[in-house]
């Protein structure tokens, strides 16, 4: 499809006299030389490898008690060594697809080997320990991958391992529980800092993109949670407060102060990191500040008192109900600015559509009748159009002012 489009464009430019036939041939030969493996083929091969790997893990999990332990371990290490040898064979970059497929298989086989050792020696460790060990030993191979699939898999596994660590005990008791909870709720900021560090350190550069993605996903997750907990009233009804898991003298202030410190670190990094575009730095700094404000709201509001005052969902305070969508829309708005600045039109459109959708849902949540919903939506639409018109009129002044903040 891409090739047909290129052929058609070149033919048109040639007809218009913009390029000569020699130049057309030159462009075609250049494009042919840099043609890479089609992403569809690549994705299906990686899917196949993943399915094979899951099959291997299941085979090991079946626990073949008739086969002696030493034989199982010997076969496992022989297969691992064979895969390692194949990886070295294709490490020159001549066959990037084969290398990545083998690397994915090798990485999954390392996980299966951890499972086998745990099974044979009956280790009583936690799932997060196995996952963190897996991430640690497979990080070097991940850095050699030619495409982003393996770094994305590794990052997802790492985030899952950290989350499993945070919640490996349902009760967040003592000081360790307090810090685990703080780690979990400040995850968007930690992951963002990890992305910045990866971006700076050349060998880890392939992990920067996946870390940025996970930072965004965890931020959206935290925002959705905040929105849902407040707009549905469940924060009072069922106690969806982030600090609800704290027990045995755990102090919630550690949670909020960790988030404050991390947000400050991100803002400081944005001020200092001159290699990034100024607008991007401003928006990212504002996102960190907004996340910090959102999380501190949990600390400022006296939910216990509100619960005793409101009594039932019917008297649930309107301000609390609006707080959720207000935060969600503010985060989505900043994300849309970020994507607009980065030239990601599709992601920008997704954010704008989500903002529109959230506006619609607010009125159904806050007002019962269709008439009030209709009036509310018309007023909201007028406010949005007015704000956009105002922005276009004053954008140069605002940009100059925002730019001045980072000078």
């Amino acid at each position: 499809m891409k090739q047909q489009k290129l052929d058609a464009q070149l033919a048109q430019w040639e007809r218009q006299g913009l390029i000569t036939p020699q130049q057309k041939l030159g462009i075609l030969s250049y494009e042919d030389s840099r043609r890479t493996v089609p992403w569809v083929l690549y994705s299906f091969i990686m899917l196949g490898v993943t399915v094979i790997a899951v099959g291997v893990v299941s085979l090991i999990a079946a626990n073949w008690s008739e086969i002696p332990a030493w034989l199982k371990l010997a076969v496992d290490f022989a297969l691992l060594s064979g895969l390692a040898a194949c990886l070295c064979r294709y490490g020159d970059g001549s066959k990037p697809l084969i290398f990545d497929a083998l690397a994915a298989l090798f990485i999954f086989f390392c996980l299966a080997s951890i499972g086998l050792i745990a099974q044979i020696y009956h280790t009583g460790g936690q799932l997060y320990q196995a996952m963190l060990l897996w991430c640690a030993i497979t990080l070097p191979v991940t850095l050699f991958a030619f495409r982003k699939v393996i770094p994305h898999l590794w990052t997802a596994a790492f985030i899952a391992a950290v989350t499993a660590y945070c919640f490996h005990e349902a009760r967040m008791g003592g000081s360790s529980g307090m810090y685990r909870l703080a780690l979990f709720w400040s995850l968007p900021l930690w992951v963002f800092l990890a992305a910045l560090v990866s971006r700076k350190l050349r060998p880890l550069a392939v992990l920067a993109g996946p870390f940025f993605l996970w930072s965004g996903l965890t931020l959206i997750n935290a925002t959705l949670y905040f929105d849902f907990a407040h707009s549905s009233g469940m924060i009072l009804e069922y106690g969806l407060h982030p600090a609800r898991l704290l027990h045995d003298g755990g102090s919630a202030s550690v949670l909020y102060r960790t988030i404050d410190l991390m947000a400050l670190a991100v803002i400081w990094a944005m001020v200092m990191m001159k290699s990034l575009d100024k607008k991007t730095r401003i928006v990212l700094g504002l996102l960190a500040a907004l996340f910090c404000v959102m999380m501190n709201i949990y600390d400022f509001i006296q939910y216990e008192q509100l619960r005793s005052i409101s009594g039932s969902y019917g008297q649930y305070p309107l301000m609390l109900k609006l707080l959720g969508p207000a935060m969600a829309i503010a985060v989505l708005l900043l994300l849309s600015f970020l994507f607009a600045g980065l030239g990601r039109q599709r992601l920008f459109n997704v954010c704008v559509n989500l903002i529109g959708l959230r506006f619609l849902i607010i009125y159904f949540q806050v007002f019962g009748s269709l008439a009030t919903t209709g009036i509310g939506l018309i007023i909201s639409g007028l406010i949005i159009i007015g704000a956009v018109a105002g922005w276009y009129k004053c954008r140069k002044h605002v940009q100059a002012w925002l730019g001045g903040l980072l000078k």
């Binding site: 008690s65 290490f77 745990a118 060990l133 070097p140 360790s176």
Partner: protein
């Protein structure tokens, strides 16, 4: 240069896993054999298959119920009981007892663990078994026929050697 880095990168996980395996094997081949009674149930681990998870009957009252924090380290001092089976029992120091610091001196054999979910846990509470044995072994353990065989090192690390049902290895057990 890149080639050597790649060789190092692929060799690293293999060496790490070999190290893990060897350390487990060394612990298993050394240490003192200890047999303790167990009680339990059967969940499933997606990574390593079925396992029995059980509560070890140390023959002493639970040390993590009061006066100790979650995650606090603790030592179970093992003493061989006089019964025919040769089972071991443990004694724990009370939270305000000075014995806690001197346990290594006072005690010839001990297992190091920590308080998890208000219970003493030493990482030896799982025994992996094949799918088709799971139900029978689960029933046997529930009915109090189970014993766990451990190897305990001088440093207090315990590794599982075998699961006994009615005094025989689980492989020989028939309902």
């Amino acid at each position: 240069m890149k080639r050597y880095l790649l060789i190092t990168a692929v060799a690293f996980p293999i060496i790490a896993l070999l190290g893990l395996m060897i350390s487990k094997q060394v612990r298993l081949s050394q240490g003192v054999q200890v047999v303790l009674p167990i009680e339990g149930f059967d969940p499933r681990d997606l990574l390593s298959g079925h396992y029995l998870t059980y509560r070890i009957n140390y023959g002493a009252s639970e040390p993590c119920l009061a006066g100790r924090q979650e995650g606090q380290k603790l030592k179970a001092c093992l003493v061989r009981s006089s019964g025919a089976e040769g089972l071991y029992r443990a004694r724990f120091a009370s939270p305000d007892d000075e014995f806690e610091d001197d346990v290594e001196k006072d005690c010839g054999l001990f297992i190091e663990g920590r308080c998890e979910h208000s219970r003493f846990a030493a990482g030896i509470e799982k025994f992996y078994i094949p799918d088709h044995y799971a139900r029978a072994l689960d029933r046997a353990v529930r009915s109090g026929k189970g014993r766990i065989v451990l190897k305990v090192s001088e440093s207090g690390t315990a590794v599982i050697q075998d699961l006994l049902i009615n005094g025989k290895s689980w492989r020989e057990y028939k309902e």
